[in-house]
Amino acid sequence: MHVFASGGVAVPVQLATGIVVGCGYGIFALGIVLVYKASRIFNFAQCEIGAFGAFIALCCVHGIGFVPKLPFPLAILIGLVAGTLTGLGAERFVIRPLFSAPRATLLVATAGLALGFASLEALILGTNFKVLPNIGGPSKFALFGSSSDSNSYLYGWTQITTVLALVGTALAAVAFFRTRYGAAVLAVSQDPTAASVVGIKVSRISALVWGIAGFLGTVAAIVTLAGKPFIPGGESGFYTGTGPLILAFTAAALGGMTSLSGAFVGGLALGIIEQVAANYMPSSVPGGTAIVVFALLLVVLLAKPTGLLGKTT
């Protein structure tokens, strides 16, 4: 069997890396779909709100600014709370005042939010970036091949924890929609007026959804950023094309913007596609991954706007 691709990375390793990265995209996509389902808003700040939560955790770990140095688990906990509060704050101060504005205005507003958070991080952190510690500690083992290969072939508890945490979060999010609150979110998304008539507080549901979205974004950001340098507005952030936002939105579109499981599976698929494309696209074509993702998005939107896994509602 031809195991090694042109890039020299074995196929199982591509798949494993793709799954780890793709779970992150999937969780980001879950947050995007959740907000879209509840209020028909394209939340371009999803990744940046998450990155802001991760940034707060980073500040706690390294003791940046007025924040004292805290142990890592506590820092993560604070980061998660901060990310959730960021989502709530965004809803209260930006989204709710614009509730009746055109949806394109809200899209610009979320993009502005993302720009604001990225600049705020840059203001505090500057260009000398810090590293968020690995979640599972430094221990590594070779999942494929021998451990004498390059370091990138090694997988450790970080990757395993990543996948477990993200899949767990995804399952929890899907389970949430089976509860009364999930039903209330659906009701609000279908008709806010009718929902308020039967006693659902629309603004409270909106806040709930943005809080959850902030939490999901922070989980994904912390887990995918672990062990990597945190560069404001960089890979973690909103600006870079290969950054998670575009992939998360493509994943959400694969699920037709309304299917939670579709979004997560779409994220997984995109993570794998990204790895495979990076290895098989000829190096003479720059931005091969971006081209593949753009083509995929166009094909899905043009041929099947309800998404590959979406329901026709």
Partner: protein
């Protein structure tokens, strides 16, 4: 804004006392332009950027303000124009004017591609596609070594007679004025009215006999031509094309200046474009801002001076959207009305542009 503004002909008799102060005001604006051109290379450089951004803002306003299609990939169109202008002028030693034309053409062709997509996909999904389109252009086309001269960037040298920043600034001002006039003619034409109808309601527009497909494509191509021209001017302004300059950051800046300026309003967009073009370079030199940054430790102060403009821009955008949805245009409407010959205070049918 446009519907219902009928010229009653009451201003037919020229009134010297009404014309004089306006003439003085316009002369003052011209004086500022002349001052920018004569003060020095640095000032002319800032002013050049402002003039180019005015063209970009008007270009984005055609699709966003008039036709109602949000483009988050305008940096791709601008970059395509810059790339082709730099490439033709350096690799094929094309004359300045030809390189500009090629730049505009590149922007127009890229916009045509987006326009075709916009026929099938609309609304939020279209914004998503334009976002990914712009980023894809930046990562693929703008990184092709054969076009961009590798990592060093493709040079785009100005012709000898435009070598000074001041002269080039005057050329860019001419572009901005031409774009403004084109925009003015557009809003008064059949095409402009068709675009407003499409923005209001596509189906109703179609049922009234408006060629929705044709005018949508027209809007995108016109916007792309302007963006490409602005991109070519941008390349000649820095005398170099660097693909990494045309990141998503820039697309957000373009949307910022259009929205904060006032979507759909010519005067507002022009003021917004100038404001945001100067914000990044001038804000760190302002004394109150420096004083504020000086309150913090040295490293943080440097960060504030470097990244502050982005934060201020985002803050302005959110404040504009939540408290003042008309943008700058809403505030300056009386001034603009007065400058264009109307009354300072006008109770009925306020003409924003």
């Amino acid at each position: 804004m446009t519907a219902g503004t009928y010229d009653t002909g009451l201003r037919a008799r020229p009134d010297v006392f009404a014309l004089l102060p306006r003439a003085v005001a316009w002369l003052a604006i011209g004086g500022v332009v002349a001052l920018c051109a004569s003060t020095g290379a640095t000032v002319a450089g800032y002013a050049t950027l402002a003039a180019i951004y005015v063209v970009v803002g008007l270009s984005l306003n055609v699709v966003l303000g008039y036709t109602g299609q949000l483009s988050l990939g305008h940096q791709g169109l601008v970059g395509a124009g810059a790339l082709l202008a730099a490439y033709t002028s350096t690799a094929h030693s094309a004359p300045f004017v030809v390189a500009l034309l090629f730049g505009a053409l590149a922007g127009g062709i890229c916009a045509l591609v987006v326009g075709f997509v916009a026929l099938r996909i609309s609304g939020l999904y279209l914004s998503l596609v334009t976002l990914v389109f712009g980023v894809t252009l930046q990562q693929s086309l703008f990184e092709v070594n054969a076009l961009t001269g590798g990592g060093a960037g493709e040079p785009a040298n100005r012709p000898h007679f435009l070598f000074s920043n001041s002269r080039f600034f005057l050329v860019c001002t001419a572009f901005a004025i031409a774009a403004t006039y084109l925009d003015y003619r557009l809003t008064k034409s059949k095409a402009g009215r068709a675009m407003f109808a499409i923005k209001a309601d596509e189906r109703v527009a179609a049922s009234m006999g408006v060629n929705v497909v044709g005018y949508k494509l027209f809007a995108f191509v016109l916007s792309g031509l302007l963006a490409g021209l602005a991109g070519a001017a941008l390349a000649f302004s820095s005398q170099q094309f660097n693909g990494s300059d045309y990141s998503f950051n820039l697309a957000i800046l373009f949307v910022l200046m259009t929205v904060v300026g006032g979507v759909g309003s010519r005067a507002g967009v022009i003021v917004g474009s100038i404001f945001f073009a100067l914000l990044g370079s001038l804000l760190p030199t302002l004394r109150p801002f420096k004083w504020f940054a000086g309150l913090f430790p040295t490293q943080t102060a440097a960060n504030i001076l470097q990244f502050g403009p982005g934060f201020v821009g985002a803050l302005l955008l959110l404040l504009t959207l939540t408290f003042n949805s008309g943008g700058i245009a809403q505030q300056i409407a009386p001034v603009v009305r007065w400058l264009t010959g109307g009354r300072f205070k006008e109770a009925d049918h306020a003409s924003g542009s």
